[in-house]
Symmetry: C2
Subunit: 81 residues, 2 copies
Amino acid sequence: MKVTVFVSPKNTVLDPQGAAVEHAMKSLGHESVEGVRVGKTITFKMGGSDSPESREKLDKLCDGLLSNPVIEDYRYEIEEG
Amino acid sequence: MKVTVFVSPKNTVLDPQGAAVEHAMKSLGHESVEGVRVGKTITFKMGGSDSPESREKLDKLCDGLLSNPVIEDYRYEIEEG
């Protein structure tokens, strides 16, 4: 199965990278831009198929390695094949 | 409109961050993981609505600021409201 994990900073957490990008966009003339947040995506292939067991594994991976649950949220999409 | 830009390393480009994550996943016991790639997402709000003009603006933004077209690909999704 093909997995895409989306990790984003929690809404309540400051995102300095997003603030820097917003500043840069505004100085390039895109004044109407606001609320820029920068997150990451991790895509990979993994053995097995979409099942409660593999979702449990994925949750552990996301919580323990791919995101910092104190300041980040995650969600993932699974594509078979 | 709400815009989400997805930036990912081109398939032909080495992704050392992805390789590091893959190594970590494997040492945590997820041996079947392969082809890990790490990209980023940039979400923001912008004035105006989905139109050829705003897509042209967005293409310029993505090409010039949000991605490095030599080594990265991008795509974006636009949500009204």
